[in-house]
Symmetry: C2
DNA sequence: GAGAAACCGTACCGTGAGTACAGTTTTGGA
DNA sequence: TCCAAAACTGTACTCACGGTACGGTTTCTC
């Protein structure tokens, strides 16, 4: 890794924390470069403009999240051969992971971008849309596996159930931040888990 | 209503549409006053600064939403004496109301503020927190009424279920906007409705 | 040791928030 | 109908921020 790449990473790390804390519009390049210890010229050497910064931040964020999901769902699959049990275990792991974040979840970049859409170009917005679609498809695939074994009790659209997880997480992050109570995120994931159980698990007193 | 009050309302209406479309930071006072047809001096005569504008926008937004919930849940209560049925009807009405919005839900002001928190003062943030708490309490009260008649199947925390509705709605709004598909919001509310049914309704094939 | 990569410094432009303050029109009530 | 308050207008600033331009300098790497 060249020195330039390291600087880029440092900038992205600092920028992401700032953006999640106060929004993209309120994050000034000046403060980022001050913390990163370089000049404006240095910044624009690495990023054409603020949009380029957003694009790279987003790529980083999506990659990190993808990796987290890979790990968590692989682990669930390791611990149980039953697709429903594996998913329930993974959701538990996800909840725990979120609960273990030191200062609560810092925020969802996609949601942050969503509420400031006009600040970004089409490429950035297309990137957010695609990653949401990918996550939904991933969850949908898991649900397909479950539904094949356990026919859902209520007639539910599996696409909607898949979407639900992303919605719950994004919504819970907002509530956590608004109420300054990190525990809400964990609890919402667990409530979703209960819903999945109710939908698919066979009757058990 | 004096002329000043009418101007204030006009500014708030224009500002809300702009803020939900592109975020608070990206909404300039200049463009708002241009559309409202008054000068900068005129604007600052009504609002001390941008924070004061946010505060009033928020008050307006919360009041409108409160009224919507009042209507929808009152209507549900009219149509059925059974607390569970009444809630399920209300959720259906809520879903329909959201589906009927011409260009999809314009966005949640609380979420928008959440992701740009540092732009706002403590009073604004306290206002968002309080309205979320109020909405959660309202839903919780309804769930209490239901649980008294229909003991929940899974051991669920009713506070969490109450929170869930807000989370789902906020999350679904983000997904709707990100994917440019307004129907997601309606479908998520209906999926939540299915979950409530599964939690409380007695076994029915 | 040379050339490319990774910066620094300085000076500049446009836009938007916000201030200051004096002047003008509009409005509602005695 | 007049008068005072309310509701503005106009001008002229300030400061911060995004972004550009460009020449110079250091630092790596082959």
């Amino acid at each position: 890794m060249g020195k330039g790449e390291a600087t880029r990473e440092r900038i992205l790390e600092i920028a992401e924390a700032a953006v999640l804390a106060k929004g993209f519009g309120a994050t000034s390049i000046d403060e980022v470069i001050a913390e990163a210890g370089l000049t404006k010229s240095g910044f624009f050497y690495h990023f054409k403009d603020k949009n380029a910064l957003a694009r790279e931040m987003l790529r980083r964020y999506v990659a990190t999240n993808d990796q987290l999901f890979d790990e968590i769902f692989a682990r669930g699959h390791q611990l149980s051969d039953d697709p429903l049990q594996a998913f329930l275990i993974s959701l538990k792991l996800l909840a725990e992971t979120m609960a273990d974040l030191p200062n609560g979840h810092p925020g969802c970049l996609i949601a942050s971008i969503c509420y400031q859409e006009r600040l970004f170009d089409r490429e950035v917005r297309e990137l957010t849309a695609q990653s949401v679609r990918d996550w939904n498809a991933r969850f949908r695939k898991i649900l397909d596996g479950i539904a094949a074994v356990y026919p859902p009790r209520e007639p539910v659209d599996l696409d909607d159930v898949a979407d639900m997880l992303s919605c719950i997480v994004d919504g819970a992050i907002i509530m956590s931040k608004t109420l300054n109570d990190p525990s809400r995120l964990e609890r919402q994931i667990l409530i979703f888990r209960s819903c999945v159980k109710l939908m698919f698990a066979p009757q058990s007193s």
